[in-house]
Symmetry: C2
Subunit: 367 residues, 2 copies
């Protein structure tokens, strides 16, 4: 280690982190990707109204964004039927997860998630010196009963549950999620990450009830609204939890351009509907392709599909070969999920490239 007087927490953290962007791979390979379907980004762009609002806001972005995110929270409150005081906007769910961990977890606490679930949550747990305890997926679904049981067993202050799930794309129905929320142990708060819920069928999101101080709902403009690069998301929770966020968040931390884009996006209902349709169509294309190739796949309520290529070794080999063909894709990190590749719903052109590449490499995969 260096002589820098880091805190012991930071000293113990690994210097390599699991965040490798497609640009990094492009630089390593000296070549741009032809299909970027690995980071769960939207291939269907941003609402034209939101783009116009963002372009206009860019001119005025010498001004800091409103630290209260007032207009956006007002619109979101109306949209969800909650009070403004029950919403915290920040620079994406990643930032909000960091704040949640800082707010509710003491160093050394054990915190519960699923083995193979969203790595950024785990990153914050480690970064604030907590201990991650995981439960396995059950039939490729997160297992809410096991999450609740484990949270009670280890006295976790936090339990993380994504519905729909990333990286598998599977989901539970609202009644199951409601049961999960009703059973969060005393002293524990559940983070219900609903980043992908806009792609899900009716009946997946339970009613939002911010009077429950044990649940934080996380939503984002990064996925269906297509604004990943703008960094804007929000938490809906009991107003006392929102007060906690306000005690520690960077009050001028949200990009003014993103505020304008999000406000326009939430009003452009037609665009969201159109993206939902495109994603549903794209999912069908991917699953048809998988059927054609004789590969099992998981039903998805997200903008990606987990396609089972048989084993982790085969999936890793396939990703490497796709990369050779300039296709950026990712896969789950741990067994048994890693027998799948995670195919982001792309454009028809991207799907055509993908299918060609799949057909050419599938026969050569290791047994």
């Amino acid at each position: 280690m260096s002589k820098i007087p880091f805190t012991s927490v930071v000293n113990k953290l690994p210097a390599t982190v699991p965040f490798v962007g497609p640009e990094t791979l492009e630089r390593q390979r000296g070549q741009q990707f032809s299909a970027r379907i690995g980071a769960n980004e939207s291939s269907f762009g941003i609402s034209p109204e939101a783009i116009a609002a963002m372009q206009s806001a860019a001119v005025q972005s010498s001004w800091y964004g409103d630290p209260e995110n007032f207009e956006l929270r007002e619109a979101l409150a109306a949209h969800h039927g909650v009070a403004m005081e029950e919403i915290c906007v920040d620079a994406g769910i990643d930032t909000l997860l960091g704040l949640v961990v800082r707010m509710l977890m003491n160093p050394g606490d054990r915190v519960v998630s699923s083995l193979g679930a969203y790595p950024t949550f785990n990153y914050h747990i480690a970064g604030f010196s907590g201990e991650l305890v995981t439960v396995p997926y059950k039939d490729d679904h997160e297992d809410p009963d096991a999450l609740i049981a484990k949270a009670g067993e280890v006295g976790a202050p936090l339990v993380y549950f994504a519905n729909p799930d990333n990286p598998m794309g599977t989901w539970h129905t609202a009644d199951v999620v409601q049961r999960f929320m009703d059973r969060v142990p005393e002293g524990c708060v559940a983070v219900l990450d609903e980043a992908y819920v806009d792609f899900a069928p009716e009946g997946v999101a339970p009613p939002i009830d911010p009077s429950n101080p044990q649940v934080i709902r996380m939503r984002t403009f990064s996925k269906a609204y297509g604004m990943a690069g703008a960094r804007i998301g929000y938490a809906i929770a009991h107003r006392d939890i929102i007060t906690g966020f306000n005690k520690i968040r960077n009050h001028f931390g949200v990009n003014r351009i993103a505020q304008a884009g999000a406000l326009a996006s939430i009003k452009d209902v037609d665009f969201l509907e159109q993206v939902r349709r495109e994603v549903a169509t794209g999912r069908k294309q991917i699953t048809d392709m998988a059927d054609d190739l004789g590969l099992p796949w998981l039903p998805s309520a997200t903008n990606f599909v987990a396609v089972d290529v048989g084993s982790g070794d085969r999936a890793r080999a396939m990703l490497a070969m796709l990369q050779e063909d300039n296709i950026f894709m990712r896969m789950p990190g741990v067994a048994p999920l890693d027998r799948c590749v995670r195919i982001g719903i792309g454009t028809a052109d991207e799907h055509a490239l993908l299918e060609r590449s799949f057909r050419s490499h599938l026969p050569g995969l290791p047994d």
Copy 2:
């Protein structure tokens, strides 16, 4: 307190924070400001090249920004004559300050700043459970000797020094700053916040030497480059410190649009020169006005001027009256600095409004 199981650190934090944006005041008053010269935002906009780059990037912002900020760090490294590995880009200095505190300060540590200096640093110290120890300004300047002495005395892991200073606009020359950097006590790291250095005359910024592991230089696109609302700034430091940042920062936390704007800004040298000239001209207008009104003022190396209206009571009364006239301005928070109002350099129109308002209210200020 609520029943939310916050950490004791968060429980102890105040629910009210010192960040009140102009939009909040506008909502309270039901009226927009005619002059927004209170938040040290630039009244001279953003490079046209940067606006074009941002507007173009907005269309593509369905993609996350490059988590390495590679191209921007490459350009900044060339600009400053340092290595890329000695630069960390993040969503503004505020975000970087939070990371620095988290990286180097243990709970209970005493950390040194100047009494009345940048409140966001203090906010993070409190937010991570440190204790702020301050030294007074000396003749309206930060006092580097006193900062160093106090840092040694209390065993501070961090000492904060802004040059040029906010809120007074005063500065020290490079030799004084170099002496400060050379004398940082063992076990302590100095944060040298140079947010305003682009407005300063030659000979204010000492050479950048990232081989010194005890100094972190902070720079931003929020001030002279006019991109406050875009949230992008950077730290230059020893590569081991940059590794520390990389262990805990949100790797996908920087807005893709801001990345594009910053990259274009750094290349538009003419625009920066033009802003510098406009700010110098504007400073002269403000100090001429103050002379005319018989008010003392402080020489400034920033985009604002501290004008001495005689006492904190008079300054607060003046701000209230300016606000009645739809002029947004701020002032230092503590005595003896608070005998000044902090006038942001605005456009000629904003200055005309300001002068009219000043002339009308000055005679009515309390004794």
